[in-house]
């Protein structure tokens, strides 16, 4: 099995050009996301979804203009993959999380399961879509299209361990330069999704970028859920029995 591969997106050097969005679409043949002027700075694609697998957020605040290219996090504990009933979503030899479009039947369960709001169902197609970390390219030894195109190398692709080391250095450097607000997001293996395969260097709180501050893989609580449900099922059985036994 290959090494775990991932993305480190350093938003402190993102220039918001959106090459990642376009390169992704060209390679993966993703349809356009509609032509809507949103009046939200320079962001007119809004959010990640079935038709936008890389999304550049623009945040204007107090003399700064933050830009950040968001993408599927390829979680260690991926809720979408856990809940997928068909096995369309699976974990690859690169430890990335990919939807097999030839398997997906569009049940839609992965959509609300994702704590980051990444995966979505393309309604005119019926299936769920998201970033594959260019699985086909990886199998040919190529880097993902977005990382390759990125003019400033804000999007870095590589073995996750190397990326984590590089990210730690980068944060240290920024802190030394007085950019104390720099922080990593998602890289910790101890977080609620067991660490993400695509992680970020942010310059503000995650929610400013539309990211959840402390996401949890919903299936963490699955045993508890089944226990409560089991209780309820037994209660149902008991209730029915009681109704009959009372009468007879």
């Amino acid at each position: 099995m290959a090494e775990r591969m991932g993305f480190f997106t350093d938003t402190s050097i993102c220039i918001g050009c959106k090459a990642c969005e376009v390169a992704c679409k060209e390679w993966n043949d993703v349809p356009d996301d509609g032509f809507v002027f949103r009046a939200t700075s320079y962001d007119n694609t809004g959010a990640l979804g079935a038709d936008t697998w890389r999304h550049v957020a623009f945040i204007e605040q107090d003399g700064r203009w933050l830009m950040s290219s968001d993408v599927c996090k390829h979680c260690t504990h991926a809720a979408c993959l856990d809940v997928c009933p068909t096995g369309a979503l699976f974990r690859t030899e690169f430890d990335t999380v990919v939807v097999q479009s030839d398997v997906c039947n569009g049940c839609g369960y992965c959509v609300p399961a994702c704590p980051y709001g990444v995966i979505d169902r393309r309604e005119r197609d019926g299936r769920a879509w998201k970033c594959t970390l260019c699985y086909d390219r990886l199998r040919g030894g190529l880097e993902p299209a977005c990382a390759k195109a990125c003019p400033t190398d804000s999007i870095r692709f590589g073995p996750l361990d190397e990326l984590r080391a590089r990210a730690a250095e980068r944060v240290e450097r920024l802190h030394a330069d007085g950019v104390t607000e720099a922080r990593l997001y998602g890289e910790s293996p101890d977080n609620g999704v067991g660490g993400t395969g695509a992680f970020f260097l942010l310059l503000d709180e995650p929610e400013t970028y539309g990211l959840p501050p402390d996401p949890v893989v919903t299936t963490r609580d699955l045993p508890a859920m089944w226990r409560w449900a089991g209780g309820a099922a037994l209660a149902l059985a008991a209730g029915v029995a009681a109704c009959f036994l009372r009468r007879t």
Partner: protein
């Protein structure tokens, strides 16, 4: 083979010990997945047609169709990277809105008409020759000028040097001096 297909049923593979979230879930299409650029018949080394940075592009062609355009990592200018416009180059050359047929609008016409390319070329040549003769200036203000102000040209700046060269050469020989391009704009 039906037997093979049944034995590939992920549930059975699960029972054989494969991980239901990993290998057991894989389809045969997934197993066969490769980057499509590997199937390309030819790869042309090109240059991005948008701005003047001059980023290197690799153009992959398979069965007579462009299947991918991406950055050329060998380029000392761009190191394989492209901006959003450069990244949209495949769409630029393959999108359905591209015009591929000659169109003709006759004077006072209200709609386009189809026209054969050869005929169009002859008609244009006729008009150049006629207008040039009709508007020829041998002298101006007492000075010999040998020119026509009746024919003008405006070119974009995405034309090749070789094209610009023939354009300037032909017009200058014809005496057409109002030859301009985007650099003035």
């Amino acid at each position: 083979m039906a037997g093979g297909r049944i034995s590939r049923w992920p549930l059975l593979r699960q029972l054989r010990g494969e991980d239901g979230r990993r290998d057991a879930a894989r389809s045969s299409r997934t197993d066969a997945l490769r980057p499509r650029v590997e199937r390309a018949d030819t790869v042309a080394r090109s240059v991005c047609p948008f701005c003047a940075v001059g980023c290197g592009q690799l153009v992959y062609v398979e069965n007579g169709r462009v299947t991918q355009i991406e950055g050329d990592p060998d380029s000392p200018i761009s190191r394989g990277r492209l901006c959003p416009k450069g990244s949209a180059s495949k769409q630029l050359v393959t999108h359905p809105g591209r015009a591929t047929k000659v169109l003709y609008r006759r004077p006072y016409g209200t709609d386009w008409e189809p026209l054969d390319l050869e005929t169009a070329m002859d008609m244009i040549a006729d008009r150049v020759v006629r207008t040039r003769r009709e508007t020829w200036q041998q002298t101006f203000d007492g000075k010999e000028v040998r020119r026509t102000l009746g024919i003008a040209h405006l070119g974009g700046a995405t034309l090749d040097n070789e094209e610009n060269y023939l354009i300037k050469k032909l017009y200058t020989a014809l005496g057409a001096i109002q030859v301009e391009n985007q650099a003035r704009v």
